[in-house]
Amino acid sequence: MHDLAAALSTAASLVSSLDPRVLAVVSLSVQVSGGAVVLAALIGLPLGAALALFTFPGRGAVVVVLNACMGLPPVVVGLAIYLLLSRAGPLGELGLLFTPTAMMMAQTVLVLPIIAALSRQVVADLWEEYGEQLRSLGAPRGSVVLTLLWDGRFSLLTAVLAGFGRASAEVGAVMIVGGNINGVTRTMTTAIALETSKGDLPLALALGLILIGLVTVVNAAVFMVGQAAKRGMG
């Protein structure tokens, strides 16, 4: 109980004093996870929709693999990206290891299957409902993809938020490819892991509370935008 109270008061004072180190860590977390989610959405939404609409041999297997990849272990993804970016690895020349870009790459790999798999399901359901109509209108498949993505935008937003939750909460991948370098690649989750290591449990928990608060704010903002958009449509 004592630790919880200490964590709450530490969190409150870190937030109210706008502690510059905490701000830097928070903003890096938002940039890395936000960037990863944007990239994953750009690839995953059309990919999921295409998987729902186009039939080809082996589609079932692709869907199963994609769904399974929602459970990719972050540490394994981190390790794979590390081996790719290490100076002894194939992309070592780029010098990307231990940079925020590397962290964004790893999180994109983690988030992409979630967004693609969930949006495939959303679009597949819509296609079942409106497929006949759209087919009778003679719309080409390409524009049907866009139509259905737009139609399912509120459900798809939830898929994207699930991806953001995954990205902002994971620590295994960013720890390995980022290196948790103070002021360069230290995010909320790696900072929490570090403070736990130091035995400073109240501070670790306080950072955790701030992270949860941040994720809540992002979700609330998206929720309100969604509500406003629905009202706008009447």
Binding site: L28, Q31, V32, G34, G35, V38, L39, A41, L42, S86, R87, A88, G89, G92, E93, G95, L97, F98, T99, P100, T101, M104, G179, N180, I181, N182, G183, V184, T185, L194, T196, S197, K198, G199, D200, L201
Partner: protein
């Protein structure tokens, strides 16, 4: 819509790039013990003020730090496993290994001391008693410098921890801090470096039960990663750090690092 998303992605990527504004930097692979004690927070600003070089510390176990050096992912190392360091240099991965500093390990244990270790001077004897009493012992189990030292002490004590099964001897596979957290939770003995212990806050009922034995000596060495093995090693700036750390200014800075009144590392460069 797509265009806007794309612009946002570009903006985010460039924002993330801002963290990279430190143009002149080297990557130092070092150990959790040095990072968590706060030593780097003390040393790096001084070095930066003098040379303009940022040092990016990746803090991992000694085994992993040596691995990072092997693959060319760090420019210079600061680690503590003399045998592993010599092997690293002998195999041609590193050059110019220098003594930097030392501190010592301390044996931590529950205050009620179930294995009756307090008062023992010889750490091997203490380990023998812990093994005989089958008192809970938390091992790093992560191939770190501390773990390697711990295994050498068990060997000297004649206790075969591999045969101990999973009963009293518990391999945690974690860094120093997490191992101390776990040891505090299960009231176990644990070998820790003095620096991490001094700055560790979640002690619960743990305390130092043995210190000062020569076998607990813990020397740190600085090694330059051989620039001939990989392209992209920043050898000139890494060398500047290597020389500063082992030179008079770096050595004085190490001696000046204290937590409370306690000096944690003792300079030892020749």
């Amino acid at each position: 819509m797509l265009r806007r998303i794309f612009m946002a992605a570009v903006l985010l990527c460039s924002l993330a790039g801002q963290g990279m504004a430190q143009e002149r930097f080297i990557t130092l692979a070092s150990t959790t013990s040095t990072e968590q004690s706060g030593l780097f927070g003390h040393l790096l600003p001084m070095f930066r003020a003098e040379t303009g070089i940022w040092v990016r510390v990746v803090a991992v176990g000694t085994g992993q730090a040596l691995k990072l050096g092997e693959r060319g992912d760090a420019d210079v190392l600061l680690v503590h496993d003399r045998l592993g360091e010599d092997k690293f240099v002998a195999e041609g991965f590193g050059i110019d290994r220098r003594d930097v500093m030392y501190n010592d390990y301390v044996l931590i244990g529950p205050k009620d001391d179930p294995a009756k270790v307090k008062g023992v001077k010889d750490v091997a004897e203490a380990f023998k008693r812990i093994g005989a009493a089958k008192a809970a012992f938390a091992s790093r189990g992560d191939d770190s410098g501390t773990h390697r030292s711990e295994l050498r002490i068990w060997k000297a004590a004649g206790v075969d921890v591999k045969a101990a099964g999973s009963g009293w001897y518990r391999e945690l596979g974690s860094g120093m801090g997490p191992t101390l957290n776990t040891a505090a939770g299960m009231n176990a003995y644990v070998l820790a470096d003095r620096g991490t212990w001094a700055s560790f806050k979640n002690r619960q009922s743990l305390a130092i039960v043995l210190e000062g034995d020569k076998a607990l000596f813990n020397p740190y060495g600085s090694i330059l990663v051989d620039p001939a093995r990989h392209s992209g090693i920043k050898s000139a700036d890494a060398k500047a750090w290597h020389q500063w750390l082992t030179g008079p200014k770096g050595q004085a800075a190490i001696a000046g690092f204290k937590i409370g009144d306690e000096q944690l590392f003792f300079p030892s460069a020749k």
